[in-house]
């Protein structure tokens, strides 16, 4: 079992709750979540459907804001930021990898990788260099000008990984990243994740695949909106 590192956490959730109002009822999707994620962590967040995985992803990804509680990302409280500032944080500090790849269809491989850089205001020349380098890193150096429809699922997900890395984010969030792939392609993607973590990247994978629990050093299980299990909290 892994041990809690002694460094400052990159993500810290303090008493975070998320409530949704549906007519007369209030659904508590997340309750009393206290969580610290450290640089270099490689985490699987597991849980049954309706356990709060998606809400967790939205909160961690700054796509949604907690109803109660505080969220510190790289030392900044992002739970009360304006929409514009939140967008900035998303682009700079976070990298997203989705189950259905979510590439922009009208753009080529290299242009897709450039999208986050564009919103960060990186110059055209520089962003092109970064994009080519990352595409080469994920093994798509010869497919720079292909469109997503011309690529296989595994290749598309690799473009998405390159895109998530483009702004050198503090944390990479992967939502069922291998869910749409066959076992061979899925294995390749996980291989890339392992390598990225070995390079020191912080990866959070949200999945319902129990096999993932064996792969990552840290596992967090959610149940009914609460953290039911965290490797770091277990006694060694």
């Amino acid at each position: 079992m892994s041990r809690r590192p002694d460094t400052e956490p990159v993500i810290e959730l303090r008493g975070v709750e998320k409530h949704y109002t549906m007519g007369e009822f209030t659904v508590k999707a997340l309750q009393k979540v206290n969580l610290k994620i450290y640089p270099g962590d490689y985490i699987s967040i597991l849980g049954p459907s309706g356990g709060g995985k998606s809400t967790m992803l939205n909160i961690l990804g700054c796509l949604d804001q907690p109803t109660i509680g505080e969220y510190f990302l790289s030392g900044t409280d992002v739970s009360h930021l304006s929409d514009d500032d939140l967008s900035k944080v998303r682009g700079k500090e976070l990298g997203f990898i989705f189950q259905s790849y979510n590439l922009i269809q009208q753009l080529t491989v290299v242009e897709n990788i450039e999208v986050p850089l564009y919103y960060q205001g990186v110059s055209e020349k520089e962003s092109r260099e970064i994009a080519i380098e990352l595409a080469t890193k994920v093994g798509l150096g010869k497919r720079l000008d292909h469109r997503p429809t011309e690529l296989s699922g595994g290749q598309q997900q690799r473009v998405a990984i390159a895109r998530a890395l483009s702004c050198d984010p503090a944390v990479i969030l992967a939502d069922e990243a291998t869910g749409n792939l066959d076992s061979k392609s899925g294995g390749d993607i996980l291989q890339i994740f392992d390598e990225l973590n070995a390079e020191g990247k912080t990866l959070i994978m949200i999945t319902h695949d129990e096999a993932m629990a064996d792969r990552t050093p840290r596992v967090i299980r959610l149940k009914d909106g609460e953290v039911a299990f965290d490797t770091y909290d277990e006694p060694n």
Binding site: D84, R90, G91, I104, Q106
Partner: protein, 439 residues
């Protein structure tokens, strides 16, 4: 989030990228984009084309009126239709009507600021050059006729005051008459015969612009009717040769008509006094003539009426333009709303990757402006081409004012902005979480 903040926050580099992206997105749905832009194309094109045709038509009308002279009042003798007096005159065998020298003298004596009067009298009959004849008109007039009527003497000269005083048998032909009567020779110095009188040709004057314009469409018919086939001689010469009473022989009967003056053109010195002077002239004529045997034309009135007509035309045109661009704009808005719904996922992805609301607004606004701008450009091209084609094939005059295409184009772009704002803001205001979940 204000529109101004968005515009000011967009750097040139980002604008360039947004434009490239816009082109790619529009290119993905070529047919749809083209059809959407069509609304604007036809709106802009019809505005420019209609404006050019309308401007051309009113230009021609105004030119014709201006040729009559805006400071002139034109009086013409008209055969009266009043039955009772006609009956009385039938007994005297001579039908007497129209303007008289007495009218002119009275006008000159009582109406201030009258510059000159050009009286003229006409006799209609065949004009002969040896065996070649044309059904024409002999016009007895004064030596300052060309200046008053804005008609140039193209060859030779007009007759002088001296020739008027001496009743010289000289004549000036209109261009079309000269062409008909002397198809192969230079007419100056040759003679033209009417009835038993001979006249020496001293000059050729250009055709009456109004007659020339109307004759363009129907060349053959106008020549046979004798319209524009005028021969001008001094007033006194006409009186000497043909007398005061004109006889017309018809099958089985004859008619005698006495008309002192067929036409009188009065020029008013001060352009501002044209209307009051015209009123004064009308009063004199009403007193002198019991029957309405004259017709008064005030070109200034016609001009003002033509301008008023043009104003109304412009208002109608403006409304049509506004409606067509409104329709085009609604088309654009409709498609953009559909596009926003269709690209909800893309909007979510972009938001997740760091796009601010204003980035999304800019992106969609640029697309609508490009659609409407491209439509506007195409419309301008078509709108300029159509009048050119009309002028070339139908011979109609068209005038494209330089501001018309510029105005139509900028309005089309403004339509794009106006109708693009709502869809763009709708796209930007989407919840990123829901947008990402959108199938």
């Amino acid at each position: 989030m204000k529109l101004l903040d968005i515009i000011s926050g967009v750097s040139l580099f980002r604008l360039k990228r947004a434009v490239i992206l816009g082109v790619k997105s529009l290119w993905m749905h070529k047919l749809r984009s083209m059809l959407t832009a069509m609304g604007i194309v036809f709106g802009v094109c019809s505005v420019i084309a209609m404006l050019a045709i309308g401007e051309g038509a009113s230009y021609e009308a105004q030119q014709q009126i201006k040729d009559l002279g805006s400071q002139n009042v034109i009086l013409e003798s008209v055969k009266p239709t009043n039955n009772t007096t006609a009956g009385e005159q039938e007994r005297s065998l001579i039908l007497e009507y129209g303007l008289t020298y007495h009218d002119i003298l009275q006008m000159q004596a009582t109406v201030p600021g009258i510059e000159i009067t050009v009286p003229s009298r006409e006799v209609k009959d065949f004009l002969w050059n040896r065996t070649n004849s044309v059904d024409g008109v002999v016009l007895g007039t004064v030596s300052w006729y060309p200046t008053m009527k804005n008609r140039d003497v193209v060859r030779g000269r007009f007759f002088t005051k001296l020739e008027m005083a001496s009743s010289a048998p000289v004549c000036v032909l209109t261009e079309s008459l000269a062409r008909q009567l002397f198809p192969l020779e230079e007419p100056i110095g040759l003679t033209v015969r009417m009835r038993t009188s001979y006249f020496r040709v001293i000059g050729v004057i250009e055709d009456d612009p109004a007659v020339a314009a109307s004759a363009e469409g129907m060349e053959s018919s106008s020549q046979s009717s004798g319209e524009g086939m005028e021969m001008m001689v001094p007033m006194s010469t006409l009186k000497d040769h043909f007398g005061d009473v004109l006889f017309k022989y018809r099958s089985g009967s004859f008619e005698a008509i006495k008309v002192e003056l067929h036409e009188v053109t009065v020029r008013i010195e001060d352009p501002d006094q044209v209307k009051p002077a015209a009123l004064a002239i009308q009063h004199i004529l009403e007193r002198n003539h019991k029957d309405v045997d004259y017709k008064m034309t005030v070109p200034l009135d016609l001009l003002q009426r033509a301008e008023r007509t043009k104003q109304i035309f412009n208002i109608v045109l403006g409304s049509i333009a506004a409606i067509s661009l409104l329709v085009g704009g609604i088309g654009i808005m409709n498609i953009m709303l559909a596009t926003v719904t269709e690209r909800t996922r893309e909007i979510g992805i972009r938001r997740a990757l760091g796009a601010k609301k204003k980035d999304i607004v800019t992106q969609f606004l640029i697309e609508t402006v490009m659609l409407s701008g491209a439509g506007g450009l195409l419309g301008v091209a078509l709108g300029i081409a159509i009048p050119v084609v009309i002028t070339h094939f139908a011979g109609m005059k068209t005038v494209i004012e330089f501001w018309a295409p510029a105005m139509a184009f900028s309005i089309s772009v403004m339509t794009g902005v106006l109708f693009g704002i709502y869809p763009a803001f709708r796209a930007a205001d989407m919840n990123p979480v829901e947008a990402l979940r959108h199938e």
